[in-house]
């Protein structure tokens, strides 16, 4: 993969100063009587690659969906780049955000889904150019040039004119990564992006993500069961249980010498 030649095309926010980019303040999310996130606090610094691990049902997907505004918190606030995501300040008071405000803040966030969710009615090229043209206002030429750079990055240059169904799962997921990056988000959310893939296709997708982690300064928030991958790319690993962060730290610490017994149990079950 020619990471270096595409580097300039995918560089996101040049000013990575390690400042706080994502902040959850006492975020509570319930589904009926089930409290999935319980007054959750955590922050992610700009440019960091953070992996969320934890048992099934611990709320990892819910966190990403809240950030993507696919779900709303019941209590608490979420800030991205200092801006409230689900609230806005009006006359010094915090009120639920309107559609327009949400859209503005959300533009800084991109997401790749477990099931790819490519648009099956559009060719690969248009899957990638649709939002840059209709959301960012790029011209068709600009958007296509950007898309070609990204297709090169994910190694799919020759597939631009195919429909998603003509591609393998691994290729589709790489298109989905390109589609998310085309919006030049500050934050990329990855929710178990390889778990719907046949085993032999996983490595290709993870290689692309490693490449992106290495060559861009995009902030990554990643849920994965691929522990080797997590170890490679993560600056920080957050261990979740029952809607709380029970332990966090650099991957060497969490994977080799966790403080919490619960983390030890979880890792011995998945490793």
């Amino acid at each position: 993969m020619s990471a270096d030649s595409s580097l300039s095309k995918v560089t996101v926010n040049p000013a990575v100063d390690g400042s706080e980019l994502i902040r959850f303040d006492k975020v509570t999310k319930r589904f009926g009587a089930n409290t999935v996130l319980d007054a959750l606090d955590f922050t992610v610094s700009s440019g960091k690659h953070v992996t969320l691990i934890g048992p099934s049902g611990s709320g990892k997907t819910t966190i990403l969906r809240l950030l993507m505004t696919l779900a709303r918190p019941d209590e608490g606030t979420i800030r991205v780049g200092g801006e409230y995501l689900t609230h806005e300040e009006r006359g010094g008071r915090l009120v639920p955000a309107g559609e327009k405000h949400v859209r503005e803040v959300r533009k800084n966030i991109g997401m790749v889904f477990q099931q790819f969710n490519l648009f099956p009615n559009m060719k690969v090229m248009r899957n990638i150019t649709e939002a840059p043209v209709h959301v960012l206002g790029l011209s068709a030429d600009e958007a296509e040039e950007r898309a070609r750079g990204l297709l090169e990055l994910v190694g799919l240059t020759e597939h631009a004119d195919k429909f998603p169904t003509q591609l393998s799962g691994g290729q589709q997921q790489r298109v989905a990564i390109a589609r998310a990056l085309a919006m030049r988000p500050q934050v990329l959310l990855l929710d178990e992006v390889t778990s719907a893939l046949d085993p032999e296709l996983v490595a290709g997708v993870l290689d692309v993500l490693r490449d992106i982690a290495r060559t861009t300064d995009i902030t990554m928030l990643c849920v994965t069961h691929e522990m080797n991958f997590a170890r490679d790319i993560s600056d920080d690993v957050l261990m979740f249980d029952a809607g709380r962060v029970i332990e966090s730290g650099p991957p060497e610490k969490i994977f080799n010498d966790p403080d919490q017994e619960r983390t030890r149990q979880f890792l011995s079950a998945v490793l």
Binding site: M68, T69, L70, R106, F113, F119, H134, M183
Partner: protein, 217 residues
């Protein structure tokens, strides 16, 4: 009872074909109206605002659950009293279009519901505006699934056009009726009308089934 007369059939054929042309026009224009209005209802019924969904839902239920003939009479005989009057064919097209839009709305709803939720989520994740999400993502995918069902309603509407003769639209049945009223011989005109209906609707429904197999894979 008279014997079947081919000469008589030959004499009345031009008038019946005039009627057929009116019937086809009413069906095609009515279909366009039903397709467009039904889409408006289907999208309105998905609005987050109750101020939209409630009145539209009530209108759709009301129109669907009252007979087409009553609606045609209302449009043709009552509305002019309120200063709204159209020619018979226009009234017929409005009536058919409105009535069948309540069925096409249901077809669209099912087609839209069948688009996976992940498509909406991907559109949200890309910040696509709502209108663009409908036009570029949801409707093109829903369309493939709804074509066969919409086609069936076109055939049903075609077979309902004789009702328009009750509001003096010169469709096939109207022509056959007026021929019979002067010759006192209804057998040939009414039989020919029946045959013309099946000659058109049967091949159309076969064609639709072929289309269905192609689109829904």
């Amino acid at each position: 009872m008279n014997d079947w007369s081919w000469d008589y059939v030959g004499d009345i054929m031009p008038k019946l074909l005039d009627g057929l042309w009116v019937t086809v026009q009413a069906t095609l224009l009515g279909s366009v109206a039903a397709f467009a209005l039904g889409l408006v209802w289907a999208i309105a019924l998905r609005s987050p605002s109750r101020w939209v969904t409630w009145p539209v839902g009530a209108l759709v239920e009301f129109v669907r659950n009252t007979p087409l003939l009553v609606q045609l009479f209302f449009l043709f005989f009552v509305l002019p009293g309120w200063g709204l009057s159209f020619g018979p064919l226009t009234t017929g097209v409005i009536g058919l279009g409105l009535h069948y839009s309540t069925y096409t709305a249901e077809v669209y709803r099912a087609g839209i519901d069948a688009v996976p939720r992940g498509q909406w989520e991907a559109a949200t994740a890309l910040s696509l505006p709502r209108g663009r999400t409908w036009v570029a993502v949801i409707l093109p995918q829903a369309f493939r699934r709804v074509v066969p069902a919409l086609g069936n309603y076109v055939i049903a509407m075609f077979k309902d056009t004789p009702m328009l003769s009750a509001i003096t639209v010169g469709d096939m049945l109207f022509q056959a009726n007026s021929i019979g009223a002067t010759t006192f011989d209804y057998m040939e005109p009414i039989t020919v009308v029946g045959v013309l209906f099946i000659v058109i609707s049967y091949p159309t429904s076969v064609l639709l089934r072929v289309l269905e197999r192609r689109l829904v894979r």
